[in-house]
Amino acid sequence: MSKFYELAPSDKKGEPYSFSQLEGKVILIVNVASKCGFTPQYKELEELYQKHKDEGLVILGFPCNQFGHQEPGSDEEIAQFCTLNYGVTFPIMKKIEVNGNSVDPVYEFLKSQRAGILGFRGIKWNFEKFLVDRKGEVYERYSSLTKPASIEGDIEKLLKQ
């Protein structure tokens, strides 16, 4: 079994969200921020989620304030922002750090599995994405510039597996 399913980050209320419940699903993990130029990607993410959630797609948003301090709010404020402005229904987790000494184990795992541009492991900015297949293996890593809609092909491919 993939180590991915052993992870259990905190949800927005601080309760453990065990990844074991995601076994057999296709998961898209995104580090999100409310005040970023890429924030409108929430809309496309929600559209993807609505379109494929019944087929087994799960999207998880991990708020992070490390890039340009663009996620300064509390977990509650962040969740409210996502719902009110983009109608987000997929889970938004507790705010975490994705780089540095206090990196969340989820990102430690994801980064160890797939490097970014130039082979760097570090997350470069908000809205980088990791796509995980039904077996808990990291399938691909996408930069902030990659729009969620353009990942749809990969998602569909994994959903069919």
Partner: protein, 671 residues
Amino acid sequence: MMENIEVICEQLVTSFNQEHDDPLAIVIDIDMYAEEVNEYGSILDKEVYLKELLKQLQEHHDIVGKIGWDLPEVLLKFYVPKNIDVRKSLHSSDIIITVMKCFNEIALAGNPKECLLTGCELLSKLSILEFKKIEDKAKGTNNDDKGGSNDTTSRENLVTVTEDGEYLFHRTQTDFFFGLYLHVIFELIVTTLRRISTLYPSKYLGMATAAIMKCVRNNIDYMDDCNLILRRIYTFCRGYLPAEIPRDLLESEKISNDDLKRISEKELDTQGKLLQVFSTFGIDICLRNFNTKIDVKFFYDLARKAMVISQYENNVYELISRYYQLAQAFDINLEDELLKFIKDSRKIYSSLPKDSEITSDEARVLISQAVYKLSYTYSLQKITKQTKFTLDQQGIFILSGFHYFETCKHLLPELDIKDAIYMYLRVTTPTLYADVYRNNSSENIARYWLWVSIINSSIEKARSNLKELPSYVFSVFFEVLLTRNLAEHNEETRLSSFTLLTRLLCLAPEDVAFDVIMQVLEEKRNLPAKSCVLGIMKDLTTRTRQCFDDFEKEECSIANKMKEMNIEDKSTTSLMRPYLVLDDHKMNAIHKISLNYIVNFNLSEYNESALLLMLNFIKFFNAVNEQWDNKLLIEVQEKIDAKFNEKRNYNDKGEVKLILEANKKLGDYLK
């Protein structure tokens, strides 16, 4: 007289249409017409000419492919004060916009390798001083013509005060044009880099970064606003995308896929390292004249006070924060790098002999002089032996301190005070031999780490660690810190560093602390330094601390017993003792120096610093009078009285009045 602009444009079009086979002729035509229009034409003529040139470039990409690299220099000649009003927005000038669009066409359709080379050459020779000369010359002309009254680009006119009372500094003409040049050249470089089809992109990335480094080194000391270049380098690093393996090579049978993969992976690694080095270089060089005030922030945080940050500083902090994030994205482990920096710094100084191994005063002087030079020699050796990519050490060091600003936590919570001192010496002393090593920000961070080392460890531990440091190393360190602080312009930094100096002397072994103070007082050196150490000595002799070791405790206990027996020793009572206990030896030494100063004080040649030092001597004696030998105090008091009462006419000076008042207070005590 200039030819009609419509005729010039027609000729330009003809040139593009008819001289397809002779690109050089087209370049000469463009150059010739541009020169004429720029020299004699109106603003409107220039706009018309540039728009026509843009149109031709857009319509003849094949020609741009041949001549593109030759055009940037011609186009940049339009970016001059006579064509552009720096007070207006960039978008309001068609000249600015059209030249930018021409650059874009060149970047997209020109030969990428040649255009990159042009961009690098332009950047290497870009000099802000040239823009300053133009600005100064224009001011001179304005002054001649209009008495300077309409000079809207002078520095004074570029400052406004907001309703909140904050000063806003607008761009100067020099910064404006330098920034504009930087923008178009950087864009040219970035775009052409992306277009170069090669299996070895690191070669071109290296070329571009080398040109940028040269440009920054040449100009940073003359720039008012380091944001200009700090932002450019950040954007360059963050936005860099590695070139993919050229398709023709993928399809070629001359090279195997395995070889291609191997070369490509090696190239990715090299490009990554280049960007790591370049981004840390950026933070180092761009902040060389900037006071990051991280030490002040820590000092204020200790005092639970908020540090006032100007808009300009805030903008710089925002950018440093981006670099900090970039370092993490580029897999730079700041903690590991700082540990390496500490280890290196320790290596520089750890081989120095212990105090007990130095046999004569001459040897001590020589070894002290060597301490000043060690870091500089080490840097030179490191450069000559360098064969691998290494991160910019000063850049890493700055980011290690900025970690506190970013996270409110120390990257290394526990730091040996000796290591903090070694790091301070390493960062500051090379400046004495080569200005290229001067970096205000690094110095700032070095002071921050000194603070961390003394605040985050127990007093016993800090004192015991300091005991292990050779006294002459401490002496050099104290000397450098004191001298640098006296030259510091920023009041907050001066105050926090003065407190730091005092705290360090409180922790140093008593004899070492006294020796460094005496060294400053005895040497023929600047008077403010002497005033400064007198202030520190006053604190050390009047403030008390708990006794630490057995010897001190026993000493205090004896003093207490003597007190019980009514045989009181003024210097030591209870288990508290001053940081610096005044015994006969110390009293005599200080008395001799003060008396010497008073006797030789020449009233006819005095200056403010000299008077302040006199005042500080009396204040010191007033503060310690109860611990002092009254006979010595009487001598001092009488000499000062005699000296200053000789010429009462000096009473009009504030300092003299204060000296007389302070001396009277001393006299009253003695009565």
